[in-house]
Amino acid sequence: MNLVAKDFKSDLKPIWCPGCGDFGVLQAIYRALAAIGRPPHEIAFISGIGCSSRIPGYTTAYGFNSVHGRALPIAQGLKLARPELLVLAAGGDGDGFSIGGGHVPHAVRRNDDLTYIVMDNQTYGLTKGQLSPTSPLGLRTVTSTYGSLEHPVNPLLYVLAYGAGFVAQGTPADIAGLTEMIEAAIRYPGFAFVNVQSPCVTYGEEHQQIKAHKATMKALADLGHDPTSRAQALEHAHAYGRELLTGIYYQEPDPPPTLGALVRGRQEALASAAKPRAQILDAFVQH
């Protein structure tokens, strides 16, 4: 189907702060979906709660701005129930790695065919700039007046260590690169994770803004990275928080079956061995 980015733009006007990184992420998602070519009614976009979690409403896909931290369980349930839908999940670093952090390893190990996009701004934007799980050590916020004493989580490292088949990192400083990455994630047949360094212009630090990204970002492809090597991906993932390395960290060359495929296989196997209804009733009558 010949679709363009505008086909995925809803009439709802984003209320994000002007300059917010999430605008560029939204643009990249529109463009990636246009390249994929599935019409909006075949797409479901699930999010949690946060500024970034408003994103489904700004698309023409079916959307559910759900409960804080619960984008992944809802997206997985939906994908199992309606396997024909293209399912996207999205949210912030607070939504995904703090309150919802417990769901990530299970989404990875279940490996259902969905794409999880995290807009990682190292803060809780919606609730006015508290520490988030990816906030850097020493960051001063309303909840860390003297500087954070907690080490940030490294989402790239842990999603890779959980065994995810597709892991990438992008920034809206390079919308073209981010578009390609999201498109590749959607095409990957299994759980795909895209971490986007999406600056919060209201509560974020100067060095986390788009201009700083443009000046410092390095493409993994230019570093001779082999995206089929998990060992190399893990090595590069250690740079998270120190250096902005963008691109596909890891893409499983031989994707294993998804949970949905396994469930359908099991259902078919059980269905062929199942007794006809009349025989089941007989079994009850005899005993």
């Binding site: 209320i15 702060c17 300059g19 605008f23 463009r31």
Partner: protein, 175 residues
Amino acid sequence: MSPTRNIDFTTLTMKDALDLAILIEEEAYDRYSELADQLTQHDTPDAAHFFRLMMANEEKHRAALADRRDAMFASAACGMTRAMIFDVEAPDYDEVRAFMTLRQALETALRAEQKAHAFFVAALERITDPTVRTLFEELAAEEVLHQDLVRRELAKAPPDPAIATEEFADEPTGE
């Protein structure tokens, strides 16, 4: 980071060049429209108003190019798509802020025009077709004229207040 994808400038035809130029104006129009909406929503009327004037300008340029294209190639199918361009003349999303001043909005437009000029100049290094070269030279020169226009407006614009406008940025609502 190239602002274009899958375009070979060495073999660009006049029809494709005109279509590309039209899409660039269209992209800038859409972005100014989005930015004006954002700023209206966040109580920044002067900058929003200026971006709406820029929308009108971009539309005027687009229409002029479209007329030229129709005269030369009538209804021949367009071989270029918006998926091939990324913010060639459109201001970047991160250029705007709530409560930005008219002066800052003008500076944003100036940077966008400079970006577009740099794009046409860089493309000229690869273009071989003489008619396409003439068109791109003309487009690059127009971007310089637009910059001059914005600079003249900047000279008339009131100075920025002593307090940084960021101090007033409105915050999102909690949920």
